[in-house]
């Protein structure tokens, strides 16, 4: 007898606009408060206190243009936010400050979320969609120097990059980039040579989101159609389709794998969040709370396993927080 799906642990209200992106920062020690950052369509980044469930600060740095990506750089005091005003802002939030310390002008009018990877202490690589429609540029932060520009070959017709993921097998090895494009293909790029290592057509429609498990060399991508595609990377650095999973309703906006690589969550256009087991993509739960498209899902990084949370932000202005499968 299967149990009915759980209700959200709590719901955060108060953004008064569609929520496009979420990021947890809960790894700090006591008395540090666990925090959730959310970016909304009205240009604000809200900092939610997860103890009081209220907004601590609202950051206005993108001229009321939609914020579609937030990331932290080593702790909750350094925040990166990306908005539709073609800017990526770096914030300093320590000791109650709320100021933009630096910004990168991307000249890109798309919706592709940037991807951050820490390569060394105090050094990050950031991949973002560049000015030219099908290019991806990788910058080193905080120096903002360009590491490489990844251009698909002439005639490849990949379209805009839709989603990016920088990863490296372990600290010190080569950083690689996985990019999902408008034509439905996922490309693996080698950053040092600036060349594409492998390309795989996963979907007939644009790839809306992807996530990658570097330990198992397996990744998953979702699109605007009814299919989730799981692919793997073999020893020759070639991508191959591993399997596909058919969904009930079409459209996925976001996919994320939990840090312990046991489960993954997808945010759907049909207002539902779906949980799958990562090993065999076994459907585990369908969380039906929101009344509009769910734009983003994010897992928390709590050190204490039983406190782990899943957050989902939706077009209906709500953020739902769930506690699910925390025992394993």
């Amino acid at each position: 007898m299967a149990l009915p799906p759980p209700d959200p642990q709590f719901v955060l209200r108060g953004t008064s606009a569609a929520v496009h992106t979420l990021h947890f920062s809960c790894g700090g020690q006591e008395p540090d408060v666990p925090v959730l950052f959310s970016g909304s369509e009205n240009g604000f980044v809200h900092v939610w206190n997860l103890k009081t469930h209220r907004v601590d600060t609202a950051l206005d740095g993108h001229g009321r243009k939609s914020v579609y990506c937030v990331e932290t750089m080593g702790g909750k005091n350094r925040l990166l936010s990306q908005g539709r005003d073609q800017r990526i802002c770096l914030w300093d939030l320590a000791e109650g400050r709320a100021s933009v310390t630096d910004s990168v002008f991307t000249e890109n009018v798309g919706f592709c979320r940037c991807s951050l990877l820490k390569v060394a202490q105090g050094r990050w690589l950031m991949a973002m969609a560049a000015k030219a429609l099908d290019e991806v540029q990788v910058l080193e932060l905080p120096s903002k120097t360009s590491v490489c520009t990844l251009k698909p070959e002439v005639g490849a017709k990949l379209g805009m990059p839709m989603c990016l993921k920088l990863w490296q097998l372990n600290c010190g090895s080569q950083p690689l980039l996985l990019a999902g494009y408008e034509d439905g293909s996922v490309v693996l790029w080698n950053l040092s040579m600036g060349k594409a290592l492998s390309q795989l057509v996963c979907h007939q429609e644009p790839v809306m989101s992807l996530d990658f498990d570097s330990e198992k060399a397996k990744g998953i991508s979702g699109s605007s159609e009814k299919v989730l595609s799981i692919w793997s990377l073999n020893e020759q650095q070639n991508l191959q389709v591993y399997k596909t999973h058919k969904l009930v309703n079409a459209g996925i906006s976001d996919i994320t794998i939990r840090p312990d690589k046991k489960i993954l969550a997808t945010a759907g256009w049909d207002h539902r969040i779906r949980i799958f087991g990562w090993k065999k993509l076994k459907p585990l739960a369908v969380l039906d709370y929101h009344t509009a498209t769910v734009h983003c899902v994010s897992f928390s990084d709590h050190k204490n396993l039983s406190e782990r949370l899943l957050a989902a932000g939706s077009k209906d202005h709500r953020i739902s927080i769930w506690s699910i499968y925390t025992q394993t």
């Binding site: 299967a2 799906p5 309703n249 489960i263 049909d270 990562w278 739960a285 039906d288």
Partner: protein, 632 residues
């Protein structure tokens, strides 16, 4: 009849005379059925017999030539046989040429397809005769493309000419097509225009098929003309004429078999290799699965039975529907509203009556926002529902819009269809509220857009004639049991009279008597249906009188579709108006109509019109008889 073979110098003239005389007396079949097979055999390989045969036909006197040639063309089993038998008769003999190129093709149209094939194949088989073939094609195209011919000649003749054109095209070779490419193109363009202008769907389709064929012949590479029409047996048959199966080709069996064998050999190899790779792929995942330890079995899935496809809810109130249809950007909601609208309107008559005209206006102007299946039908059913719920104001609105500026033809025809469907529903109160599958309940009237209501009318009139006589004998009422009052009675006038009012007043975008004769045809058919449905209503006599005057004004219209409609109008008037009223109030109109009908029966070029006119005359006779026998 035996012929003496071998080197005798015999005179064939006598035989030709006999043959000619027999044929002209109409005995072609008998004599040629014996003669032709014999001659076919004899002339197969023997040149002398061929020459004898040619002499035979050449010597037939001119006054009997036509009968003989026609007989040969009809009985010969194939074009090559005909060629052997007649030789170059058409080139040498003027009369034969006239018969073959003009009379059979242009002046007659009763011959079978086999005859056409024989004749045109015969013309194509010899180089001397090919010039005639091209001349024939040009003349056929001229006839095909002339607008007066399309308007006035019967559809059977047009089909005959189209067939002939297609067969000619199939015989033409590349250099010949090159030389007359320009002419083909011009005549095709003119012809297509006249054909598409016609109201009868079969003429339109003929035009489309022939134009497509011509275009495919003259543009062998590059884009080819393609129309959309109903592909049924007739269309396929016509298109099959375009390809000639050459009778002389003997399919070489041996080389083909070799080639086939090789192809077969290749296929199994390919299949095998595919299979191998498949089995290879299958083996691996199995191994992988076995190797992995299933360690996330401890994640218990939750109940996911509620996870179904997402359905958008439609609004529940009529005013909300209007809001969604006029303003909403939410396409899912718009779709759901369209689908739910008809049932909502029927369930809430009081609420609908408050906003009926507004809703009718919204529906009339509704364009398809997204691709829904059956959008046209959904919209029409919603319109009918609104009209039947609140007939008078909505009918006033719709009929006034029919004659307004700046509506498309589709919208005007929509208005007519909706009026008829609603009238049908109102006059049969039992079917109200149930799912009226338009056309299914009343088998006589086909009212879905695009259908040809003239066929339905014939059936109605036939049935009515039969039922009238039966009715007279038993004295039963024809109308179905109505459990309530006839709701159409009070509103029939509002449907009918505004439509008749302004037909002769042209607007800048809408001229019923001029270009838009298609709409005129539909209007006339609509009026006929409304008249038919108005039986047993109070206004029927006034309607009848007005309708007969309307028919009188339009009786000389050139479009056969309009004339058929006018004849349906007369039928429905005769059927719906009580006979006593007919004779009392409308005597002059009846007499005038009778004389017009008599005229039509004899002289109208369209077969359907003649039939309908005849049926109307019969109806009138029946009514007169009925009156005479009723004890006054």
């Amino acid at each position: 009849v035996c012929f003496i073979p071998g080197g005798l110098d015999c005179s064939i003239c006598f035989v030709s005379h006999v043959l000619g005389k027999v044929c002209v007396h109409g005995r072609q079949k008998e004599i040629l059925s014996v003669l032709v097979p014999r001659l076919t055999d004899l002339t197969k390989s023997d040149c002398i017999w061929q020459r004898i045969c040619w002499r035979l036909v050449e010597c037939v006197p001119d006054r009997w030539m036509e009968a003989v040639v026609l007989g040969f063309v009809q009985t010969a089993p194939g074009a090559d046989v005909l060629s052997r038998l007649l030789g170059n008769l058409v080139v040498k003999n003027k009369k034969a040429q006239f018969v073959v190129t003009q009379k059979v093709l242009l002046l007659q149209y009763g011959h079978t397809t086999a005859v056409l094939q024989n004749l045109l194949g015969y013309l194509s088989l010899d180089s001397l005769r090919r010039a005639l073939l091209i001349k024939v094609l040009q003349e056929l195209l001229e006839t095909w493309g002339s607008s007066s011919a399309v308007k006035h000649s019967p559809p059977e003749q047009q089909q005959y000419i189209s067939k002939a054109i297609l067969i000619c095209l199939s015989h033409l070779k590349e250099p010949e097509i090159e030389s007359c490419r320009q002419e083909l193109l011009t005549s095709m363009m003119e012809g297509v225009k006249c054909h598409l202008d016609s109201n009868l769907p079969q003429i339109r389709r003929l035009g489309m098929i022939v134009a497509e064929s011509i275009s495919s012949k003259i543009n062998t590479e590059g884009p080819v003309l393609k129309f959309q029409y109903k592909e049924d047996d007739e269309a396929r048959e016509l298109k099959s004429f375009l390809v000639q199966t050459p009778p002389f080709c003997v399919v070489p069996s041996l080389p083909d078999d070799d080639r086939n064998e090789k192809a077969d050999a290749v296929l199994p190899l390919v299949l095998e290799s595919n299979n191998k790779s498949h089995t290879g792929a299958l083996v691996m995942p199995d191994e992988e699965l076995d190797a992995e330890l299933d360690s996330d079995d401890d994640l218990m899935p939750y109940d996911m039975s509620e996870d179904k496809e997402l359905k958008i809810k439609a609004p529940v109130y009529i005013r909300d529907c209007i809001e969604v249809l006029t303003g909403s950007e939410d396409v899912d909601k718009w779709e759901a509203t369209i689908k739910a609208l008809e049932s909502l309107v029927r369930k809430n008559p009081a609420a609908t009556r408050e906003v009926s005209v507004e809703l009718a206006k919204v529906l009339l102007h509704l364009e398809e926002k997204t691709c829904i299946e059956g959008f046209v039908e959904l919209r029409q059913r919603a319109q009918v529902a609104v009209l039947t719920t609140d007939p008078i104001p909505v009918a006033k609105y719709l009929t006034s819009q029919f004659y307004s500026l700046n509506y498309s033809l589709r919208q005007r025809v929509d208005i007519l269809d909706v009026l008829v469907l609603a009238a049908q529903e109102l006059s049969y109160p039992k079917s109200r509220g149930k799912t009226t599958c338009s056309g299914a309940q009343n088998p006589c009237i086909q009212l879905l857009p695009g259908s040809d209501s003239s066929k339905g009318w014939r059936r109605i009139v036939d049935e009515r004639i039969k039922s009238k006589t039966r009715r007279f004998a038993t004295g039963q009422s024809q109308v179905e049991l109505a459990s309530g009052p006839n709701e159409f009675s009070s509103v029939a006038g509002y449907f009918f009279f505004p439509l008749i009012q302004h037909f002769d007043r042209p607007l800048t975008t809408f001229d019923l008597l001029g270009e838009d004769h298609f709409v005129l045809g539909r209007l006339v058919h609509t009026l006929a249906t409304l008249m038919y449905l108005a039986v047993n209503t109070a206004a029927v006599t006034a309607m009848g009188k007005a309708l007969l005057e309307f028919v009188w004004a339009l009786r000389f219209h050139t479009d056969p579709y309009v004339r058929q409609g006018l004849l349906s109008c007369i039928s429905s008037t005769l059927l719906s108006v009580p006979t006593e009223c007919l004779l009392d109030d409308m005597t002059e109109e009846l007499l005038e109509s009778q004389s017009w009908l008599g005229d039509l029966v004899e002289k109208d070029p369209d077969g359907d019109c003649r039939r309908l006119a005849l049926q109307n005359l019969l109806l009138m006779e029946n009514l007169k008889k009925k009156l005479k026998t009723v004890p006054s």
